[in-house]
Amino acid sequence: MSTASEERGAREIFVELYEEFLPKVFRYIRYRVNSEQETEDLTSVVFEKALVNFEKYSRDKASFSTWIFSIARNTVIDHYRTQARRPALSLEKAEIEASSNELLPDDVIVKMEEREKLQVCLSRLSPEEQEIIALKFGSEMNNRQIARTMGLSESNVGTKLYRAVRKLRDSFQETDNG
């Protein structure tokens, strides 16, 4: 039987990990799905799974980062599977959503519009490119961690990331000009 101090210890560890990884998991999922609501729902699912399986997690086998992001990746994949396909986000829809926030300050509105455009452009990349961007900029993983997570070589990750960011930039600029 675990003692009160051990339980408090486990609770404190979980809270610390939650506070450190929640923003990263949230950002990763936000890159992978189309709406804030979906992001919150899936983030909740990820941490609930982590809590239920926390006893099974072994620090010797993998870092907490690798473990939690493998749960996050699988959760996103399951989400797509249940939805059959990822609905493409149209630019028109993004503009309508952004224009419904007229009471917000200008800089906030500009940022929201840019985020929506970025979401549209991201959805035009291949799933692998989207995943690399999400792991790099959402999870803040280094290339070695991304390589291990995706089963690629580290140099391959670097090349794909460089290419994906330039592709995304071009798509974003085209949207701006269009």
């Binding site: 039987m1 675990s2 339980e7 486990a10 609770r11 979980f14 809270v15 939650y18 929640l22 923003p23 949230f26 950002r27 936000r30 804030e36 992001t39 919150e40 983030t43 909740s44 941490f47 609930e48 809590l51 239920v52 940022k111 840019e114 985020r115 970025l118 961007i133 790099k136 900029f137 959402g138 803040e140 280094n142 290339n143 670097g158 090349t159 990331l161 460089y162 960011v165 330039r166 995304l168 930039r169 974003f172």
Partner: protein, 316 residues
Amino acid sequence: MDKERNEEQEFLKDVDRFLNGEEVTPDEGTNEDTRSAIEFARKLTELRAEPSPEFQESLKSKLLRKLTEQEVAAREKVGANWLRDFMDRLMPQSPVWRTAVVTVAILMVATGVMWRTGMFTPTGGLEGETLNGRFSEETFDDESQKWNGMAVAGEQEEEEEGEAVVNIPPWPGAEDDASIFGEELQLEIEITAIEAITRLAGAGFTAPYGDEVTLTLVFTNTGSEPITIDMPQITIAGAPEIGIVYTLSAVDDPVELIPSEPLHMLFVWEQQDSTGAQVTPGVYIFNIGTITITRGDDTFEIVPPSVEVTVVEPQQ
């Protein structure tokens, strides 16, 4: 090819640096394409969505509540395993002996049933049954589900003559050392941003006849905003035929509770009824009404579990 490779390395190095919060200025030799890719990567970082504080707080509360439930379930599982191991050790391994033991046990139960129904005594019936037996039968028939949920028929034990002690399965989260003679009753209520977790520390308390009984409610606000607590009255009820014997008044004004600072509310009952007379030995239930919690414009309610105390017959 080497030039392309160098541009890629320059890009990756700069991205890692600004993700680590460092200032980044591309080298002068960096070509325009890579320079603009680095700038765009910086924009990607700036445009990242952040979880709202409300979401972070509510998910944290939800997870902590689940963690508490898991801990309670684990404790109960350990208890069940202990009982199973104990029974396994008690039972002989040989099938012949197992059969013999089970047969003896069935015979003992059958004998007990026949004795209880009066087959072995000319007078029959349940004469001599203690206060405990009568009280519990009526309690379970007449009282609320909450009573039924806390006490299970068959777990009643007849103690020494005149004593009325009911063994109650501990409330989830209760400490194992229940029924410590004279121990203070303590109900912990942890209030998170949107919900409350009640935990009874100790269950099935006994109190010496005539002693003060102190119920302590410990409130902890684990949310990030102050809250106010509206404390209702607490009624103390005896057996159904006795009903409510005493009422501890409600706290007049709502009490403010700031985050992280525990608040202890003490309620003392001098084992007297409303006329000031000492109550008779027996089981008494502290029924705490609905506690109202207010946080800003939000209001929610907690219905804590009833707390039971057994007043023991004075020693002769």
